[in-house]
C-alpha cells in the first residue's frame, strides 16, 4: 500500500491554528490578562504581553505575584487541553471545521496549584511553557516554567493537579462532585 500523500502545509496549519485560537480566545480571563500562544508543531509557548495593570509593586517596579500565578495557571490549563485536542484533531476523531465555542471539549478543572516565585517579575513581557508530566483518565499533573529575558533563569515555576474532562458527557461541578473510588 502506498503512503497517503501529505496534506498541503497551509491546510495543516490552518486546522491547528483554528483549534488553538478557539481554545485560547474562548476564555475571557486569558484575553483580560493579555496572554497569547505561539505554536511550533504541537509545542506551545505562552506570551504575557506587558501592561501597566499587571504591576504589583509600583516602586520596584515588579509584576504582581497574582499576575504571574494567573499566567502560569492559564498556561497549564491551555497546555493540558491542547495536548488532548491535538490528539483528537490529528487522529481525525474530531473534525476541526465542526469545532465551535459550544462544541469545544470542556476545560480541565484545577484541583491544586503551587507557585514558586524565583525572581521578581520585571515590567516587560514574560513567556511560559507547560509540561504535562502525567495525564490519566481522571487526573493530570502539569509543571510550568515562566521566564523573561533569559530562558535559563526562570522567574517562576508551578506544579498543578487537574481533573481532566470526560469525553462526550458534560462534567460535574468540581472535585467534590467526584466519587472517591481510588
Amino acid at each position: 500500500m502506498s503512503r497517503a500523500r501529505p496534506e498541503p502545509v497551509q491546510v495543516v496549519k490552518e486546522r491547528r491554528d483554528r483549534a488553538l485560537d478557539l481554545l485560547v480566545q474562548g476564555v475571557p480571563y486569558t484575553r483580560f490578562m493579555g496572554i497569547g500562544f505561539d505554536r511550533r508543531g504541537d509545542e506551545l509557548t505562552a506570551l504575557l504581553h506587558f501592561d501597566e495593570k499587571l504591576i504589583g509593586n509600583p516602586f520596584l517596579p515588579a509584576l504582581h505575584g497574582g499576575a504571574i500565578a494567573s499566567f502560569l495557571e492559564v498556561t497549564a490549563i491551555v497546555g493540558l487541553s491542547w495536548q488532548s485536542l491535538w490528539d483528537e484533531i490529528e487522529s481525525g476523531r474530531v473534525a476541526p471545521e465542526d469545532l465551535t465555542p459550544e462544541t469545544m471539549p470542556r476545560l480541565p478543572k484545577t484541583i491544586d496549584f503551587t507557585v514558586d516565585y524565583l525572581r521578581s517579575g520585571l515590567p516587560r513581557d514574560a513567556y511560559a511553557r507547560a509540561r504535562v508530566n502525567r495525564s490519566g483518565r481522571r487526573y493530570a499533573s502539569v509543571h510550568v516554567e515562566a521566564w523573561q529575558d533569559n530562558r535559563a533563569r526562570p522567574c517562576a515555576q508551578a506544579t498543578g493537579h487537574f481533573l481532566t474532562p470526560r469525553h462526550g458527557a458534560g462534567q460535574g461541578a468540581g472535585p467534590d462532585s467526584e466519587a472517591h473510588d481510588g
Partner: protein
C-alpha cells in the same frame, strides 16, 4: 517609628488598593490588622475562566489569595517594611458561584526575622463551604535602620 493601629490600617488600605493589578481585578480591602487581612473581589465577566458556566478563573482567585496573604504579613505587629511571595499553594474546593463576590481571609500565623507563614481561605455567599484554601511563605523585608 510606631504608628497607631488605626493609622497603620488606613495606610495599608491606601497602599493595597493602589496596587495596579489588585485595582484591575476590583479588589477591596475590607479589614486589616494584627497579621490578618480580609480582601474581597467582585464577580466580573473579564475574570471568567469557563465561558459556559461563568465560573471565575482559578488564576484570579490565586491573585486574590496572594494579595490577601501579602497584606496579612504587612499588617503583622512586627511590622515588616515590605513583603514578596516566596511560594503559594492553592487548593480549589469548588467552583465559585457566578455573580457572587469572593471574600478572602488570610492570617500570618507565624513570623520570623525573614519569613512570614500564611494560611488563607476564600468564600462566596455560602460561608459554610470554602471555595479555596491556601498556604504560603512570604519574605519579611526589614526597615533600613534594622539592617546590620
Amino acid at each position: 517609628m510606631v504608628l497607631k493601629a488605626g493609622e497603620k490600617a488606613r495606610i495599608a488600605k491606601q497602599f493595597i488598593e493602589a496596587i495596579p493589578f489588585s485595582k484591575a481585578l476590583g479588589m477591596r480591602l475590607d479589614d486589616i490588622g494584627d497579621g490578618r487581612a480580609v480582601i474581597s473581589m467582585p464577580w466580573s465577566e473579564d475574570l471568567v475562566g469557563d465561558p459556559r458556566s461563568g465560573v471565575i478563573h482559578g488564576g484570579a482567585v490565586s491573585a486574590l489569595m496572594d494579595t490577601c496573604g501579602g497584606a496579612a504579613v504587612m499588617s503583622h505587629p512586627e511590622a515588616p517594611a515590605g513583603t514578596a511571595t516566596i511560594d503559594l499553594r492553592i487548593d480549589y474546593m469548588r467552583p465559585a458561584t457566578p455573580g457572587e463576590r469572593i471574600v478572602a481571609r488570610a492570617e500570618c500565623y507565624n513570623i520570623t526575622r525573614s519569613v512570614g507563614f500564611v494560611r488563607a481561605s476564600a468564600f462566596d455567599a455560602d460561608e459554610a463551604r470554602p471555595v479555596a484554601t491556601a498556604a504560603g511563605a512570604f519574605t519579611v523585608e526589614r526597615p533600613q535602620e534594622d539592617k546590620a
